[in-house]
């Protein structure tokens, strides 16, 4: 499997035998999700390579694929092949049958209420029941994609028990996970991918969390990957030159969905990264600070002035800018051109006696697009025609218009080519040098290493570790993000 310029998978073979639980591990870009997609038939492998799947695979994706408004009985029925029988009324024994099916997984709950009202673990059981109800023959593998990513504590534990029992009864299970503790607890064998190559394939007892972290992140002295080369190419000496007195952004006791408790202080001119796996709260935290997501409690202040909670206009007045990760869905108006997207945050200074003068707006846009290096510098060009990197620059330039004191960036270089990444990093550093406090949330550890003065690692909705200066390495970030016990703080010890 090859993406433009990158070999995503290289001679990977994988086998799962009956009664075995295999954990597939690896961080972003390791080829893990590509492998799953090749198996599911979503991607085509390179010509010449052989993909033999000798089993029937039954996938359960993270979102489970249940229709939340339908009951358990109805959801289980959805897996059946359509036929003329669909026109007959439901047999009266259906509920009993559904209860028996879930009882096989040790579960007992009301199968006649919508699945939106049963617990998350029970929903996962319904999905597993449905996937396995159509098993014929013996060559079956159940593939679970991050099954516990959105589950908490007891719920995840309950699901793990179900999976373990199911394997004990002879099922073959492949599960993809970010949780190392889960892998150690559950897996009979762990397979680790890195840069498309199988790095590790060890039986239970031959691996522990530490070994997995090493395998996943790779040794520091190894040949640098694509992103690491960028990191080395840019001397991060700018950090020492930045003004670093006084707290610019202060967030206290932030609580929201997926976030148990979050506190942070960002100084003037500081770039702080936020890392964490899916479900750790990293995806949500910036939106909560900005007021775009509902928050239960929490106080945000900029330069010691409190910002009204939950109000985007108040945040913007306080000088907070927010670049969401979904560029096309949330960060831009696709029907607008570059100029209109740029001036959406603030049209101050564009008003003349006759209203907005398009000509002067165009001139201002041209100047501001040039400052961030958008190419081609044509304000009238429809936004959709720009490349991903240039689109992102337009979105950042939009926030530079309000002269932000705080800039929140969610996955700032997602879908951006290598060259544009570099200039976006430069741009972000310039913003910080002008005194803004910058928060960068990213699933790319290399990005955080090359950009940030300090990295906060989140786990289970809390701040799990804080890495400063020399401790900010990819290995340390991964180790803190993946570790199982919320009590151990690997980052702190280093």
């Amino acid at each position: 499997m090859t993406f433009p310029g990158v070999k995503a998978l290289n001679e990977v073979d994988l086998d799962v035998s009956a009664g075995e639980v295999v954990a597939l591990l690896g961080h972003n870009g390791s080829g893990k999700s590509t492998l799953v997609k090749v198996l599911a038939g979503l991607y085509r492998p390179d010509p010449g390579s052989v993909v033999e799947v000798q089993s029937d695979l039954h996938f359960i994706h993270q979102d489970l694929g249940l229709v939340s408004s339908l009951t358990t009985v109805e959801n289980l029925g959805l897996g059946n092949q359509p036929g003329w029988r669909d026109l007959l009324p439901f047999p009266p024994t259906e509920a009993t049958r559904a209860e028996k099916m879930i009882a096989k997984f040790g579960a007992q709950f009301d199968v006649t209420i919508p699945v939106s009202r049963i617990s998350p673990a029970e929903r996962a059981i319904v999905a597993i029941t449905r996937a396995t109800s159509s098993w014929h023959g013996t060559r079956n593998i159940l593939v679970l994609d991050e099954p516990t990513a959105n589950l908490h504590g007891n719920e995840a534990e309950r699901l793990r028990t179900v999976v373990k029992d199911f394997a004990a009864r002879g099922a073959a299970i492949l599960f993809i996970s970010h949780h190392l503790g889960e892998a150690v607890e559950l897996a009979d064998r762990a397979v680790v991918l890195r840069d498309g190559v199988k790095i590790m394939n060890e039986r239970r007892g031959h691996f522990d969390e530490e070994a997995l972290v090493t395998a996943i992140s790779g040794l520091p002295q190894e040949a640098p990957s694509r992103r690491e080369q960028i990191a080395i190419a840019t001397p991060d000496s700018a950090a020492s030159q930045r003004p670093s007195t006084g707290t610019r952004l202060r967030v206290q006791n932030l609580q929201a969905e997926h976030i148990q408790s979050f506190d942070i202080e960002v100084r003037i001119g500081e770039i702080v990264g936020i890392s964490g796996i899916v479900g750790s709260g990293r995806d949500e935290v910036l939106g909560c600070i900005f007021g775009a997501r509902p928050v239960q409690t929490g106080a945000v202040s900029v330069d010691d002035v409190a910002v009204a909670p939950g109000s985007i206009p108040a945040s913007i007045r306080a000088g907070i800018g927010y670049v969401p990760s979904d560029r096309r869905g949330l960060a831009s108006v696709l029907t607008f051109n570059a100029r209109e997207n740029l001036t959406l945050t603030s049209m101050n200074g564009l008003l003349r006696n006759q209203g907005v003068s398009i000509r002067s707006e165009r001139r201002v846009a041209q100047r501001e697009l040039a400052q961030v290096g958008v190419l081609p510098n044509d304000p009238e060009r429809p936004f959709t025609l720009f490349s991903g990197g240039n689109q992102q620059k337009v979105v950042i330039a939009k926030w530079l218009r309000i002269q932000p004191t705080v800039l929140l960036l969610d996955e700032p270089t997602q879908g951006v080519d290598v060259g544009a990444c570099q200039s976006i990093y430069t741009l972000v550093r310039e913003v910080a040098e002008r005194g803004a406090a910058v928060l960068v949330s990213s699933s790319d550890e290399n990005e955080l290493v090359s950009l940030c003065d300090r990295v906060i690692v989140m786990r289970d909705g809390c701040v799990a570790a804080e890495l400063i200066a020399g401790d900010v390495t990819e290995h340390n970030i991964l180790r803190a993000a993946l570790a199982s016990s919320p009590n151990s703080q690997p980052g702190g010890e280093l």
């Binding site: 869905g329 960060a331 001036t343 907005v356």
Partner: protein, 363 residues
């Protein structure tokens, strides 16, 4: 601060050094604005005029025909403009016809049955239009009812209001001075046409030249992105419905003045032409809902219908013409916005050789 100044200087020089690319892009923009895709409504207008001038020269090509065309279609044009702002903000307003009808009936009822003065009546009707806009906006924003459903419900409530006031009968006998408002002429055209021109100008200024207008388009383009850019989307939605409500109420007042009576069956019929004209207009002048495209579309469609009627076409022709025009207009607007290369692209892609080419490219 130093970092701030340097790029500014560099750019100032770039501006001085290169006026030619700027003027070239200006000329390019000008030429692109004349392309058939951008102003097809004007070409279509010319085509319709030529067609009927050759077909029925002594009936079509008269100043009477032109004047009646302009005068009789002012109210549909108001209805289309009333629909324009909600559509630009991404809302469907199915109540726009019912709003015209309700205001028309309320005008007759207040003037004749209640004996109110003209200006009081006009003020009350505009107030009702604004109130309906606020209520629809409230339902959409705070009760989170889809605009399609909310305005469908509102339109039925307004229909009930209209028949309640009228008892199903026309209200006749408008005061002479009020009827003059609809029939007096200035330079050969009735007042409603001139009022339409003023309203269209104000609306154009509002949409194209003010930040509030830009925000309406932003909400229609991507409400989430607009919200995350600090636009108060709830206010924008309510504002667009309030302005639309005021315009349709004004249209109702003028309708009663034009006819010198209030007819409970009128109003809902304007819904179709309003949608046709706004979507047709959206394919013109840059590819989004806009004032002049909408007004022109109303008159081009009306000219087509008028010509067919004069040529002796059967009675079902106007309905068929309007319906077909709506479907073609919406399809064109949708294709234009989705950025496909041409109107025929989705059709030609069904052809087997085109399809194979496309899949070969995508893999």
């Amino acid at each position: 601060m130093n970092t701030d100044v340097a790029p500014l200087d560099r750019d100032a020089h770039a501006d001085d050094a290169g006026p030619s690319p700027a003027s070239r892009s200006r000329r390019h923009r000008f030429l692109a604005s004349l392309s058939p895709a951008n102003i097809s409504v004007l070409y279509l207008a010319v085509a319709i005029v030529i067609l009927f001038s050759l077909w029925i020269p002594d009936l079509f090509l008269t100043s009477i025909t032109l004047k009646t065309l302009l005068n009789n279609n002012a109210i549909p044009a108001f209805a289309a403009l009333a629909l324009l702002l909600p559509l630009a903000a991404g809302l469907i307003n199915l109540a726009v016809g019912a709003q015209v009808g309700a205001a028309s009936m309320l005008t007759g009822w207040l003037l004749v049955n209640q004996g109110y003065g003209i200006w009081i009546t006009v003020a009350i009707c505009l107030g009702m239009g604004i109130a309906v806009g606020i209520i629809s906006g409230y339902l959409i924003v705070y009760w989170r009812i889809d605009s399609f459903i909310a305005t469908l419900g509102i339109s039925s409530l307004l229909a009930a209001f209209t028949s309640g006031l009228s008892g199903g009968r026309q209200i006749l006998g408008m005061p002479e001075r009020f009827a003059e408002l609809g029939s007096s002429t200035l330079f050969g055209l009735t007042y409603p046409v001139w009022i339409l021109l003023v309203v269209a100008l104000v609306l154009w200024y509002f949409l194209e030249k003010t930040p509030a207008g830009r925000r309406i388009y932003a909400v229609g383009g991507n409400i989430d992105a607009a919200k995350l850019s600090g636009v108060r989307t709830s206010r924008v939605i309510i504002l667009s419905l309030v302005i639309g409500g005021a315009i349709s109420a004004g249209a109702g007042v003028l309708l009663t003045a034009q006819l010198a009576n209030a007819d409970p069956t009128l109003g809902p019929g304007y819904l179709l032409i309003a949608f046709t004209a706004t979507f047709f207009g959206a394919t013109q002048f840059g590819g989004r809902f806009n004032v002049w495209g909408t007004v022109l579309a109303v008159y081009v469609i009306a000219a087509g219908v008028k010509g067919l009627q004069l040529a002796g076409a059967p009675v079902w022709i106007p309905d068929a013409f309007n319906g077909a025009a709506l479907l073609v207009a919406v399809a064109m607007a949708t294709f234009k916005r989705s950025g496909r290369s041409s109107f025929w692209d989705p059709i030609s892609r069904l052809l087997p050789w085109r399809r194979s080419k496309r899949t070969a490219f995508s893999t």
